[in-house]
Amino acid sequence: MNKPIIEFKNINFSYDQEDELILKNVCFSINEGQYVCLIGHNGSGKSTIAKLLCGLLNYQDGEILINGIKLNDENLEALRKDIGIVFQNPDNQFIGSTVEDDIAFGLENRCIEREKMISLVHDFSKRVGMENFLSKQPEELSGGQKQRVAIAGILALDLKIIIFDEATSMLDPQGVEEIRKLVFDMRKKDPKLTFISITHDMEEAYLADKVICLKDGEVFLNDTPENVFKHEEELKSIGLGLPFIVKIKNDLLKHGIKIDENIKNIEDLAGFLCK
């Protein structure tokens, strides 16, 4: 599938015209069904891209195309129906008075019939491990639990594009792994589902189809993880590290121990070193 579903063309953006540009001539495209990680230092413009993409911010300069259609005021509502975003701060997006209401909110807005809605709410609350909390109010939940609820609310909507803006930052490692698996399963079931993850986790970025790295509002690298993480020094200069497998391969290479290029995970690397 090589059909671009998202295209950014020469986007310049600032919150205030007199302010410095937050995004500078940003160009990239994402194909349908791709899993893309947006990485970059704090303040590099990652979240601004996400907000532009779902029409929470308006752009003046450049073009954003969704599925080939230029995003503008008139078609915003229609295009937005296919895009969902989960933000980092779950308190900003908890709308319902209970977990159940909150997961149902988006479905209600889409006029899903009641019976189907109830079954979706139950299904997705279960998938994020919140099925025993349906009647709880937000103040009774931890940050991580609220994040799970926000994720369920978006995943239940049968969207074409899903954006996670550090949506699992308050979960423990096991929780992060659970959500990652859930997204993986959904993508497997629906290969057309495009998934964009804004993350600081280089291990996650290494698993993506494509990594877009931002630096001070510009697209700095835009390539496969393999190629992006060849730029060790440049990434280091903006405070980003390397995935473990890349780092260990580099460090061994510096001492003359060459690892087979096809080795892409630590299981294979361990096998290789024990041969």
């Binding site: 704090n42 980092q88 096991q174 405070g239 590290g241 473990f244 299981e267 024990c274």
Partner: protein, 303 residues
């Protein structure tokens, strides 16, 4: 100043069908100047525990003792503990506001609680609330901001226009301004990039070097490994391990408590299972591991 916990229990919604036990008999001693990391999966009781330290939550049973303060929600026990104490101490234990000057608590994502139009006003809010004059509060705020590495160029800026790491430092300064002896932080590095993380941890290390006791809840094992002096593992409302970071990975099966296993530890296990020839026993850091692989594989290449 020591912090001691005596068999603390905490039950949420004690009188309802929703009751759930968050702490189930926790005892501890934290010494002055220690840098303690508390790890454990979501729901293990970490956040509940630290909230008892400045009396935001009062233990249902047992108590915390910090200097003249006895923190408990058990009235009978409290009466007994304060029986032979003088008037002042009894008064201090009434609403605990003096305790909160000693023990500062920084919540998760504290930058979400920033609200002022300027950095300096935000940091002054705490001291003003504790009854200090405007002038005193300003002096305290300036000191706190300098402790977190923010100079006068930041004072009049809007906190909302700062980077993630800077915002968080402002929020920490807000707690520091009241000059607490103990600083408790819930996930201080969550959501920050590597640079922001190092900035924050540097600030915390400096504060610790100044003699302040740091108690940090974290999921991040690199924080534990690089900064903690003591590490505590919690599970199901109990403290199940207390050790030093160097021993943590050897002594504790992190997976059992759904904790993040550092990748070098995972890799070490994989090497072991694959029958790696080198000596993997004493490896406690990434660098050790690399050195050992080079010792074995490098010698082969060279020989």
């Amino acid at each position: 100043m020591q912090i001691k916990g005596f068999n603390i229990k905490y039950i949420y919604n004690e009188n309802s069908i929703d009751r759930s036990t968050a702490l189930n008999g926790v005892s501890f001693t934290f010494n002055q100047g220690d840098f303690i990391c508390i790890v454990g999966k979501t729901g293990s009781g970490k956040s509940t525990l630290v909230q008892t330290l400045n009396a935001l939550l009062l233990p249902s049973e047992g108590y915390v003792n910090i200097d003249e303060f006895f923190i408990t929600g058990n009235k009978k026990l409290k009466k007994e503990l304060l029986k032979k104490k003088d008037k002042k101490q009894k008064k201090d234990n009434k609403n605990y506001s003096n305790l909160r000057k000693k023990v500062g608590l920084v919540f998760q994502f504290p930058e979400y609680q920033l609200f002022s139009n300027s950095v300096i006003n935000d940091v002054m809010f705490g001291p003003l609330n504790f009854g200090f004059s405007k002038e005193e509060a300003k002096t305290m705020a300036i000191k706190a901001l300098s402790d977190v590495g923010l100079n006068e160029n930041y004072y009049e800026k809007s906190p909302f226009l700062l980077s993630g790491g800077e915002k968080r430092r402002v929020a920490i300064a807000g707690i520091l301004a009241s000059n607490p002896e103990v600083i408790v932080l819930d996930e201080p590095t969550a959501g920050l990039d590597n640079k922001g993380k190092v900035e924050i941890m540097k600030v915390l290390t400096t504060l610790n070097n100044l003699g302040k006791t740091l108690i940090v809840i974290t999921h991040d094992m690199s924080v534990v490994q690089n900064y903690a002096k003591t590490v505590i593992v919690m599970s199901e409302g109990k403290i199940v391990h207390k050790t030093i970071p160097d021993k943590l990975f050897d002594e504790v099966d992190l997976e059992e408590y759904s904790l993040e296993v550092p990748l070098f530890i995972k890799f070490k296990k994989l090497l072991k299972n694959n029958g790696f020839e080198g000596n993997l026993e004493k490896i406690s850091s990434y660098q050790d591991l690399i050195d050992e692989i080079i010792r074995i594989k490098g010698s082969k290449l060279n020989g």
